[in-house]
């Protein structure tokens, strides 16, 4: 209680070191258990039947033949998942997405599911389910979907956020607007104006581990769910609500997670597995195939963005404006809103206006993907910024430095910034050796900046001290990339003990209080705050036990370097008591020693990055190769710098894939053409160079150690940085992501007039 989260500027002994992660050995020996690595006695195999149509009314589903097949133990449809959402439209959408109710809204939308004794039987059973569809016209393109003539995906939705209430339903579910000043006036003061339209295609988070779970529902209303997720507490809430279970009777255990990047913040198969188990009376294991992962989980928005920026001759931006249209799948979303908030967040602008439109399309329900919505907005804005710098005749870094936001700047999304890192990352870029390295033939250099908010949220930590003085740390934020190591470092720092004395685990939902998901770059930020708080609570008890042992007032006992020390001349003879000694005596001083913390980790520090890259373009084929890549990002404080570098490199690599090759390709029939890793082309090892990183540490004033989140910002600049580099290498401005070879070659040919 009374935890003070303010930055204290202490010196560190554990934080900032690079020990081996506690879950490491299990992961290199194959012992670590991921979603699909868990089994229960008597478990059945679950499989989902999915719509092959982009948009169709479900007239009838006949499951009778499938039910009669030997070995089939349960067949379910939407009827087995009745609507218990009680007017909660967001949850209703989740329910409908898990199992289509009246309409199939995209290729891959679940319409029925079976549980059978083995995979072969389950597959056969799916073939025996007869679904009568009435095909409806579909729309998959975001610009097409906005037209008045486009097929309506949901005729109960009217555009929110318009001055006048619309009379007709629309695929545009919401308009949002941000900004300040007067852009019209601002453009009037500009000597140069750049105005361009951009498009980005839909991408998938591309985690290597498909969604997997084992669900076991008992007839007494208790249930267990083993699942790979970014947030098992949130999954518990959602599944309990959708299934009509009591949350506390549903124990959710998060397995090791094989990547999420936002894609495992959302239930898809889990309620289905629970419903199958409930009906069959046996545990059900449900693992998505890769094809299902692409067709029915994830993806991010496809976008269409117009940007206009004006500046004076001296390089001062006078006005900036953007219109952003983001697809949200067939359900209402808030993705364009986020894009509109982040678009100009790097800059100090007197006149700025952004407008976002959320657009329904017949594609899978959009899910968060690492700094969701920000990379596309940054692509459009940073491309235009580069072009404007060129028109003015300024170096792109200098131009950005001149206009960079700083402490006290009113952000483009509203609030005034505290201490922030955009300026320092730009200054670091300016002096980075990469900037001065010579370029080869057909090579171009590009740079770009990126912003992400970072989140906090509800967080719990238990810290239990064993009788032998070893410490177990139970956290509730899923470890997606080494957070158990960083949280152990934080606990070691607070307690003043060795990292090796600690073991961190991710607790299940029955063993710890509620935690928000590991999303919004909050894992280490939030759980380290709770860990610090829990450790400090444990220290209070440790001091109290030492005071008891010495029979002195607790106020005279301080905690230093893992020991209780009696403070004051009069206690000169008392030898310090180590944590181990106090723990050993704990049975006789009041019982087990533990520290707990339940808090809301608010006050996350915003984060900025600047990326530099060199690209070589083959002018005859349009092939683009990344020659060199540098990431500079503010971490606030890097708790485990190696894993911070890993986040920087991983985000950059995902951004590179998005920029160059990754995209959802739909046929005219509205079916996804490339639902596999063969044709959904994420970068392979030989596609990339080493990715250099530079960690800046501008402390977050709202965290005791100054930690900001680091997970997401690194994916924001790459699209633009690469677009700028390709444009410099090929001599033509690229406006459509991904810049696949056919698009680059076509742009080069068009420029040549060929």
């Amino acid at each position: 209680m009374n935890f003070d989260p303010r930055f204290s500027g202490r010196k560190f002994s554990s934080v900032g070191t690079r020990p081996i992660r506690p879950d490491g050995v299990d992961k290199v020996t194959g012992r670590a258990r991921y979603g699909a690595d868990f089994n229960m006695a008597g478990q059945l195999v679950g499989r989902v039947l999915r719509s092959p149509h982009a948009h169709a009314k479900i007239l009838k589903i006949d499951t009778s033949k499938a039910e009669k097949l030997a070995g089939v133990k349960a067949v379910i449809t939407a009827a087995d998942l009745p609507d218990l959402t009680d007017g909660d439209s967001a949850m209703y959408d989740v329910l409908d997405n898990c199992m289509a109710r009246t309409k199939a809204l995209y290729d891959g939308h679940a319409v029925a599911a079976v549980a059978a004794v083995d995979a072969r039987t389950a597959r056969q059973a799916l073939k025996l389910i007869e679904v009568d569809y009435e095909l409806l016209p579909h729309v998959t393109d975001v610009d097409e979907a906005m037209k008045h003539t486009a097929p309506l995906i949901n005729d109960t939705l009217f555009t929110e956020g318009l001055e006048e209430k619309p009379v007709k339903p629309s695929n545009v579910t919401k308009r949002s607007q941000f900004g300040h000043g007067d852009v019209h006036q601002g453009f009037g003061h500009a000597d140069f104006i750049v105005e361009r339209s951009f498009k980005t295609e839909q991408t998938h988070q591309g985690y290597i581990e498909p969604h997997a779970c084992v669900a076991s529902v008992s007839s007494d209303g208790t249930a267990d769910l083993w699942v790979c997720t970014q947030g098992h507490f949130v999954y518990r809430q959602h599944c309990a609500q959708l299934l009509g279970l009591e949350a506390s009777k549903l124990r959710v255990t998060s397995s090791e997670i094989g990547g999420g990047f936002g894609g495992k913040t959302h239930v898809w198969a889990e309620p289905v597995a629970l419903a199958l188990s409930r009906k069959a009376g046996r545990p059900v294991k449900l693992v998505m195939t890769r094809d299902e992962v692409f067709r029915a989980s994830g993806p991010t928005s496809a976008t269409s963005i117009d940007v206009k920026i004006g500046a004076r001759k001296d390089g001062t931006i006078t006005a900036a404006e953007a219109t952003l249209r983001y697809s949200s799948g067939p359900y209402a979303g808030t993705w364009a809103e986020i894009g509109a908030m982040t678009a100009f967040a790097c800059y100090k602008l007197d006149n700025v206006k952004t407008v976002g439109f959320e657009v329904l399309v017949n594609r899978p329900k959009t899910a968060a993907y690492r700094a969701p919505s920000a990379p596309m907005a940054a692509f459009a804005v940073e491309s235009a910024v580069d072009e404007l710098a060129k028109e003015i005749g300024m170096d792109p870094v200098d131009f950005r430095i001149k206009n960079a936001a700083q402490e006290g700047t009113r952000s483009s999304y509203g609030p005034v910034y505290g201490p922030i890192g955009i300026g320092p990352t730009l200054e670091a870029a300016k002096t980075h050796p990469h900037m001065k390295a010579p370029l080869g033939k057909n090579q171009g250099r590009g740079m770009a900046c990126g912003f992400w908010f970072n989140f906090g949220g509800q967080t719990c930590v238990d810290l239990n001290i064993g009788m032998d003085g070893s410490v177990s740390l139970a956290v509730g934020t899923v470890d997606v990339g080494g957070s158990r190591a960083s949280l152990s470092l934080v606990a070691a720092e607070e307690l003043g003990i060795d990292y090796a004395q600690l073991k961190a685990v991710v607790a299940d939902t029955s063993s710890l209080g509620y935690n928000d998901m590991t999303d919004g770059s909050r894992g280490t930020f939030s759980s380290s705050m709770a860990t610090i708080s829990a450790a400090r609570n444990a220290i209070k008890i440790l001091r109290d036990r030492a005071a008891q042992t010495w029979d002195i007032p607790v106020d005279d006992v301080v905690w230093e370097n893992g020991h209780a020390i009696a403070k004051g001349e009069k206690y000169g003879n008392l030898a310090a008591l180590s944590l181990k000694e106090i723990a050993a005596a704990s049975g006789k001083t009041g019982g087990p020693i533990a520290g707990h913390s339940e808090l809301v980790a608010d006050g996350a520090g915003v984060s900025f990055a600047t990326h530099i890259c060199d690209i070589e373009v083959d002018p005859e084929t349009g092939a683009a190769r990344v020659v060199r890549y540098t990431v500079i990002q503010d971490a606030g404080k890097a708790v485990h710098p190696t894993y911070v570098e890993g986040q920087y490199q991983g985000g950059a690599a995902q951004g590179i894939g998005w920029a160059l090759n990754e995209e959802y390709i739909y046929g005219k029939d509205g079916r996804l053409q490339n639902a596999g890793f063969l044709d959904y082309r994420i970068p392979v090892c030989s596609d990339l160079p080493m990715i250099d990183t530079q960690i800046l540490e501008i402390p977050n004033p709202n965290h005791p150690y100054g930690v900001r989140g680091v997970g997401e910002t690194s994916i924001v600049p790459p699209l633009a940085a690469i677009a700028n580099a390709v444009s410099n290498a090929a001599g033509v401005r690229m406006t459509h992501i991904p810049m696949s070879p056919p698009r680059i070659l076509a742009a080069i040919e068009a420029e040549r007039g060929g």
Binding site: R123, E620, A623, L678, D679, R681, P683, P741, P742
Partner: protein, 286 residues
């Protein structure tokens, strides 16, 4: 479903010829298992031909090489004699899939899968390779180019198995090369590709040429006009320009998720040109 591993080619042919339902030949399995996984095929009989003696060998014959049907592509890359004689064929084989896939996949399987984008096929066609087909009525040897007759379709009849691929000894002053275009650096299916085999005279004048394009038509395309553009000439800029133009013109590609018609045409010309330059150098041309 049955899985059978016969020990002789006669047994294998007999099993396939006598099978009542769908049957499939399993060598490397890198196409078959993918199709089974996707539910595109559910064979009643799988005939694994890897235990058949001789099928897993690369033999040097009086005429050249005989590459058994079950030799994984990785093994082709480990044969220094083959690599020396037919570097283009080997580099094509070594481009199929990943290292993992190369440990399993075979050029015979690549041919029989009959994908227009098969990597090894244009190189084999350019090299003038032949396929030895064993069947219920005995053996026949046919040009490799005669095997695929459309996407996913071959000219093989029920009970027939390709036993081996034959490559002649490379003629003096000859060289071959294969290039494909893929968006990434590895792991992709060819968007378009070109295999080239050239023979020169003592003065570096091209006396024989075979240029084959992949993913440019429903089946591999042997471009006669491309050969005509090269034969009787040294490899000058004009010949290369003409070659690229002819190859681009010969393409009958489609628009799909991997590339556009326009892109495939242009890049076919570029690749033909680049592969020809490599083959010319390998043949000793300067």
């Amino acid at each position: 479903m049955r899985y059978i591993r016969p020990l002789s080619i006669e047994d294998a042919v007999g099993l396939l010829a006598g099978a009542s339902g769908t049957s499939a030949i399993l060598a490397g399995g890198s196409d078959l298992l993918v199709r089974m996984k996707g539910g595109f095929v559910e064979p009643d009989l799988i005939v694994d031909i890897k235990a058949i003696e001789g099928l897993s060998e690369i033999r040097e014959t009086a005429d050249g090489f005989s590459i058994g049907a079950t030799v994984p592509c990785a093994v082709l890359g480990e044969s220094s004699v083959l690599k020396k004689a037919w570097p283009g064929v080997v580099e094509a084989a070594k481009l199929i899939g990943s290292k993992q896939v190369q440990g399993r996949c075979t050029i015979t399987g690549n041919l029989c899968n009959a994908s227009p984008a098969a990597d090894s096929v244009p190189a084999l066609v350019a090299a003038g390779a032949k396929a030895v087909v064993a069947g219920p009525s005995g053996r026949r040897t046919i040009p490799v180019g005669a095997v695929p007759i459309g996407p996913g379709k071959t000219s093989l009849t029920k009970g027939e198995i390709i036993e081996a691929i034959l490559l002649d000894s490379q003629a003096p002053r000859s060289g071959d090369a294969y290039l494909r275009f893929i968006p990434r650096t590895e792991m992709d299916i060819a968007v378009v590709s070109a295999g080239v085999n050239l023979t020169l005279d003592e003065h570096g004048v091209i006396t024989a040429a075979r240029v084959a394009l992949g993913a440019a038509a429903p089946t591999v395309l042997l471009v006669e006009e491309a050969a005509e553009a090269l034969i009787g000439r040294k490899l000058d800029e004009a010949a290369l320009e003409r070659l690229a133009k002819v190859c681009a013109g010969a393409c009958r590609p489609i628009d799909d998720k991997r590339g556009t018609i326009e892109f495939r045409r242009k890049v076919a010309g570029v690749l033909a040109r680049r592969a020809t330059t490599t083959a010319y150098a390998r043949a000793g041309g300067k």
